[in-house]
Symmetry: C2
Subunit: 377 residues, 2 copies
């Protein structure tokens, strides 16, 4: 990837950007501006740029009719106009929306125009764009490896591996900070057996150094990794949330097939619901408060007992901005987890942003469970 | 905004992009590449581009020490190096992370370099960048208005208002499709009393035409709007989720102060938990299935009864990719809501993507409650 350019919906800007990109690259992929609203002017701009006319495309019209009728939406004038498209070298038919993709070849530059909705971009990239490019440029897959980490700050991570990562010819290492932690992506620039072996040795050495912080080498998140461990062990999971307000359940149920191991999640925002649903002792709430190690432990035990699950996670804390007391600041959070008879509870001090705090808490809850399951300290 | 350019962490690309942007614009804002990892090379590139040296900055070092000690993280070599920065016209001190922002003026172009973490970008934009720009360019606020919609497709929306929106001098209307629905942003290009009145009349006419689909004029989401209605009416809310797996609770608790009205959320993924926690009749599950109008209604009544809440929402459906039966496809979903004695239940047919289905279901649940609360059909 050489460059991404983002411009406003203005004819002169579209023409200028196409001109510049066409000079710079052999492949230009554009997204957005193909929809039915008046600020979608890309189709008109393409007619001017490529010097072609608009035409009604019967197959595209059928796609649009099918797409809408599946959703029980009636066809209107704006939808019909979406089947009127610039004459191009190939129409990329869209099964996830109403705007088709367009493909043009000029001199030896390949232009792709896709709608802007992320789901539709992914669909057309997978179905058409990558196949066309692979054929034209005789592309072969690049060797890459991924190490996904969590629970370690970027500066701490680099300190741990700085002596390893200096000067590696043929290998590119990118540090990709995510909310959950840093992803390390290794790319091999040359490809023969000897270099391949060096590459794997190098990645393995980095992985070895980072140990417990690496939770996967695949394009999956913590909840996916935990799901696999649970399925493998035949374990079930239940959750009790206060601090994270449903986010843990949301993440866990993002994983296809999670209903195999995920039983239930009780989001107990009030003290009464903690007592009634989880069996938290009112005395504990009175003596230590809802935001305490003791309450977190009673929550995780309570939810596990209630659903007879093998594993459980519980969160309690002050997400903010209100709710702080002199000795309990915003961001204070207790997370408890249980798996196969083992139990851990941990205190966290997150920041001031409510949404960030919830996200940090959910990730910390998943990571605590992963570490118990894999017996990592 | 004229253009956004995204480039790889390569010295030649950084220099080329700065050169081009400096020619094109009077203000250039750059983000990312200021961190402690080896692929963060922007500071070195800036020394070359602006022909300046690096220097240790004592105040920045204090900021870093303070930031880390607040988080109980010990200082390391990489952190100390973050206080070594190119000589610039002004350092933009960062209280949300370890990399400071940098400000350069060359000829009459203003360059800002900010770290890439979104929270830190927002912090430095608000604290420094906007203030500097407002002073230099004597900027005054532009008059804008926002109409946020949900429950209507983009093509349907444009059909409803197409006769209104043609040819309005001085007014720019942008259609911003969000997952939840289209945002309409109106911007006034000229500013005198007469034009202002026309502007408001125009926006009001559009709003009038779209009626029930406009849920707010503010920068807030459905869960925030519902929170305000609930607080105003003194109503409480409980939720029972199957299809959405915790996402509804997550959205509701994203709103600061939601603990005032939000009591609890029972994520009942198994049939047993629907029976035991919500009092769904086993006969109902047997006769109509967990994914049915009848089950949705028993879920919403059950959770409302259990917590004696004024309002309740319940979701049940097949999020996919598995779980479909011949007469119940992936994406089928029933949502029920109750408020102040009124009850509605609605069938939805979403798509094939699990994560999208959950998001659509959560939004549909919030919207159903909003419409009951405001007596909108």
């Amino acid at each position: 990837m050489e460059r991404i350019t983002t411009i406003p919906d203005r004819n002169d800007e579209i023409l200028k950007a196409l001109e510049q990109a066409g000079k710079r690259a052999k492949t230009v992929i554009c997204t957005g501006g193909l929809g039915p609203t008046p600020d979608d002017i890309t189709k008109q701009a393409l007619c001017a740029y490529f010097n072609v006319a608009m035409e009604f495309h019967a197959e595209v019209f059928e796609d649009i009719q099918r797409y809408l009728s599946n959703r029980k939406i009636s066809l209107n004038k704006a939808n019909r106009e979406q089947a009127v498209i610039p004459q191009c070298d190939r129409v990329l038919r869209n099964h996830r929306g109403t705007a088709p993709g367009l493909y043009f070849v000029r001199a030896d530059t390949h232009f792709f125009f896709l709608p802007g909705v992320p789901e539709e971009v992914r669909h057309l990239m997978r179905k058409d764009v990558l196949a066309i490019l692979a054929e034209i440029f005789d592309l072969r897959p690049v060797k890459t490896r991924l190490l996904r980490t969590t629970g370690i700050a970027e500066s701490r991570l680099i300190e741990k591996i700085s002596d390893l990562v200096e000067q590696k010819p043929n290998i590119r290492l990118s540090f990709l900070p995510r909310f959950r932690g840093v992803d390390l992506r290794f790319t091999l620039n040359r490809d023969d057996e000897e270099v391949r072996r060096q590459f794997d040795n190098f990645v393995n050495a980095v992985k070895d150094r980072l140990q417990k912080y690496v939770f996967t080498e695949l394009e999956q998140e913590l909840e996916g990794v935990i799901g696999e461990i649970l399925k493998q062990k035949g374990y079930s999971l239940s959750v009790a949330e206060s601090f994270t307000g449903g986010l843990l359940g949301d993440l866990i149920t993002n994983v296809p097939g999670s209903s195999e191991y995920f039983l239930a999640d009780l989001v107990t925002y009030s003290n009464e619901s903690k007592i009634e649903l989880l069996g938290v002792n009112p005395e504990t709430l009175k003596k230590f408060g809802a935001v305490s190690e003791q309450t977190a432990v009673e929550m995780v035990r309570g939810v596990q007992k209630r659903f007879l699950s093998d594993c459980a996670i519980a969160t309690t804390g002050i997400a903010g901005p209100s709710g702080a007391t002199p000795d309990k600041p915003v961001g204070l959070c207790y997370i408890a987890a249980r798996a196969g008879g083992k139990e851990r509870v941990k205190e966290f001090r997150f920041g001031h942003d409510r949404i960030m705090n919830k996200r940090r808490g959910a990730i910390a809850g998943l990571e605590l469970l992963r570490r118990i399951l894999l017996d990592i300290r």
